[in-house]
């Protein structure tokens, strides 16, 4: 529990309105989009780097645990107060400070919502590609600390690939800058990319500088439906082999097709095993050539139905299926856990088949979405959290999926992060030496261990 003296100090920094301690406030900061709950002792809402710095000075003087949080859409408990203390919530620190068209970068505060930032830069004909499924909710700060990915990963990479610099506050309260606004920068260690994906265990991000791209001039969407999942997998291989890099390459398995049909009645065939949704983007001429080529690949690999959009409006119509997929599946059962084990892309088809086999053997309902172009699987595990016996089977199935991904050279988590959800699997992938190095880094940033305590490194120990 926090003592009154510390709370008073926080209130003198932020004012009473932005220090919340009512039971109702604490209970609503006990969760994220994962299934565990930890009740914090207070929730603070800073609006400036100075406030963050002062808060950290008080926190380090009193050894108060501080856990940073954006919108709380994370899938691994990363932003929960595992050891109590303060949740430092950045939703009120949410200004877009600069969109620099001459040098193609932007500066934002951590609480800016990703999709709102994307809309803003599009007004300048610019493009910020990282688009996690939660982009309409998740904050830029959260995306940086979790190194969020998304559907455009295959062509455009992830959050890390757009970071140029940060303003951060260390647990001691010291402020510093990392990186710069130039596209080339080899001065010193790359701390920007170290903070990115650190899950809030090293420092707090108070300002973010990201690189922007010119907005692609055109885009075409293709939808291909397959009787056999192998044919869909072979199409993906064929596209990659031909040197075409689609903007997105999404796969949905038969359970998702069925859920979509039940929910949205899109006219999809119920006996199909897989659906591919492919976007190509760039200059109109190139896009049309690529779209035709990809359509040929789909057909030659045995797709039963291939549709190629002719306009932005038709793109959107084809995207309805993918956009509705999560909702269609999520409403089938009370709880939906989203897995994100990732395999080298050539193992994609085998991995999906393995997931289906694991799901049947453990009698767990799993629907498979995948960012097929980069091997990032999203098995959607359907269950009811209240059913303890079922949850044991769910745990087992998830561990088997992770084991398989690692056995073929893949990773525990492609884009959701470790948090507490996958912490116990960490030693499966990281050697003792690697974990030791990570702990040493943590210690040099946060010697008292007050930043996001109980997170992946400690949990794994």
């Amino acid at each position: 529990m926090l003592n009154q003296e510390v709370l008073k100090k926080f209130a003198s920094i932020l004012g009473p309105q932005r220090v919340k301690t009512s039971q109702e406030d604490l209970l609503t900061y006990a969760y994220d989009a994962y299934v565990m709950e930890y009740i914090p002792d207070a929730v603070l809402f800073p609006k400036s780097v100075e406030e963050v710095s002062q808060i950290m000075k008080v926190a380090s003087a009193h050894k108060v645990p501080i856990t940073p949080r954006g919108a709380g859409s994370g899938l691994g408990g990363g932003s929960l107060a595992k050891r109590g203390g303060v949740v430092l919530c950045f939703t009120m620190m949410n200004r877009i400070l600069e969109v620099n068209t001459a040098n193609r970068y932007a500066v934002v505060e951590p609480g800016v919502v990703i999709s709102e930032f994307q809309k803003e830069v599009e007004k300048f004909n610019l493009f910020y590609p990282p688009d996690p499924g939660s982009a309409t909710v998740a904050t830029m700060g959260g995306a940086v600390l979790m190194n969020a990915g998304g559907m455009r990963g295959i062509k455009y990479g992830v959050t890390r690939d757009y970071l140029m610099g940060l303003e951060i506050v260390l647990p001691s309260g010291a402020m510093m800058k990392t990186g710069s606004v130039t596209s080339k920068d080899v001065t010193g260690y790359d701390l920007t990319r170290l903070i990115c994906g650190s899950e809030g265990t090293l420092a707090l991000v108070t300002k973010i500088v990201v690189r922007l791209l010119p907005k692609p001039k055109s885009r075409r969407t293709l939808q291909a439906i397959y009787n056999r999942i192998d044919d869909a997998g072979n199409t993906v291989a064929k596209i990659i082999e031909a040197g075409i890099i689609p903007a997105t390459l999404e796969l949905m398995d038969k359970m998702i097709i069925k859920a979509l049909e039940d929910f949205a009645h899109l006219g999809l065939p119920l006996d199909a095993e897989a659906l591919l949704l492919i976007d190509v983007d760039g200059d109109l001429e190139a896009v049309e050539k690529q779209a035709a080529l990809v359509a040929d690949f789909c057909k030659s690999q045995g797709a039963r139905d291939v549709r190629v959009s002719q306009s932005e409006k038709e793109n959107e119509q084809l995207w309805v299926a993918r956009r509705s997929a999560f909702g269609a599946v999520a409403r089938m059962r009370p709880t939906c856990v989203i897995e994100d084990a990732t395999v080298p892309v050539s193992y994609l088809t085998s991995a999906i088949k393995k997931v289906i086999e694991i799901s049947e053997r453990n009698r767990v309902q799993i629907a498979v979405l995948a960012h097929a172009g980069d091997g990032n699987l999203h098995p959607l595990v359907l269950c009811d959290q209240r059913d303890k016996e079922e949850m044991v089977r769910v745990e087992k199935a998830m561990e088997e999926i992770v084991d398989y991904a690692i056995s073929v050279g893949g990773t525990l988590s492609g884009e959701h992060g470790i948090g507490i959800a996958k912490a116990k699997y960490l030693p499966k992938q990281l050697s003792g030496t690697a974990l030791e190095m990570m702990r040493a880094i943590k210690k040099s940033f946060d010697p008292q261990g007050i930043l996001n305590p109980g997170s992946f490194l400690e949990y794994a120990a």
């Binding site: 209970l27 609503t28 994220d32 709380g72 909710v137 959290q385």
Partner: protein
Amino acid sequence: MIAKEIREEVHNCIKCGLCLTPCPVYKQLYFEAASPRGKVQLIKKILEGKLEPSENFHRLLFTCLLCETCTVNCPSGLKVDRLMKAMRAELLQKFGLPWQKKMLFHLLVGKRLLPFFLFWGRTLGNPLLARMPRSRKLGTIPYSKFPRLNRKPLREQYPEIVKVASPKGRVLYFTGCATNYLFENVGRSVINILQRLGVEVIIPREQVCCGLPIFLAGARQMALQNIRKNIELFNRDDVDAVIVDCATCGAALKKEYAHILEEMGESPEAAQALGRKVLDISQYLVRFDLEKHLRPIRGRVTYHDPCHLLRSQGVKEEPRSLLKVIPGLQYVEMAGADVCCGGGGTFQWEHPDVASGISSKKVQSIKETGAGIVASGCPGCRLQIYGNFGEESVEVVHPVEILAKALH
């Protein structure tokens, strides 16, 4: 006791947070307990016995416009609004109603409204309103921007059956309180258009307030007599439709009555039968070939979607079609037409800061269209938008008023 089907909803929330950004209230306050996800969590804790419903919780539960944006955005299909409405009813006994609402609801229930209107409204209300200081506000709306009461209630201005020669149709008209007492031109427009189209209009004399403001405040028992009376009067098989010009009354008659009765353990069948007959006036009018009755009028118009029409009733295109069919009138779609205006019935005077923040965004979107006329089929939105528009001139009207003006 909250009905089982509604209670179960708390377990279907997967906490994804997709309801946060679309929620107009959260977008003003930016803390979780103000969001739909946060409220669902608190209701869950209360139902599990892990949280005592406190004054703070009660205040949070009413820090909600009931605009239903969360419900339509929820990937798990949670009926978030129904859960909140049921919880409000559940807490009525513990927290009661504020005196202002108690007074208002007593007026709206049963037969007290008409005599009140005739005496206080006409003889004292209008002159009093004219003397109020122009800058003083009720909630977010300056007194100078409140409408004057109708000279005579609309229903007193017409016979119970407005006959036409060789009728092509026959409807029951639920006028609602706003049209009856405040916006008579809406009612006149509805009747004029229907007469022109050869439709016989029956305006049941005995109709009462739809009761929605009462039961959304949680006072379901108090609203029951109104609900029953209206079902009895309007659930008739000898008409083509029951038409409603007010989004809120429409939502009540089409949907809410059946939900409430069912959740209170009564038979919802008659309410459901009525619900199937209810049409928003725009839904009824688009069935006709209107163009031949219209002459060109000048002007630029934009349209605002009332929550109770778009999300409660799923009516989106019909009112726009009514505007687009008028020759000469330029239609411009505003950005975020489907976003709540911030009115939310009594919300705007209970939470003026939050409401005015939401309304200023709406006003901004309207100004960007350059339209001089805003059309919206909801008296609440009309008051809120007009009241928050500031000094610049704008006309906020019901789509049927423009349509009636264009009749030749």
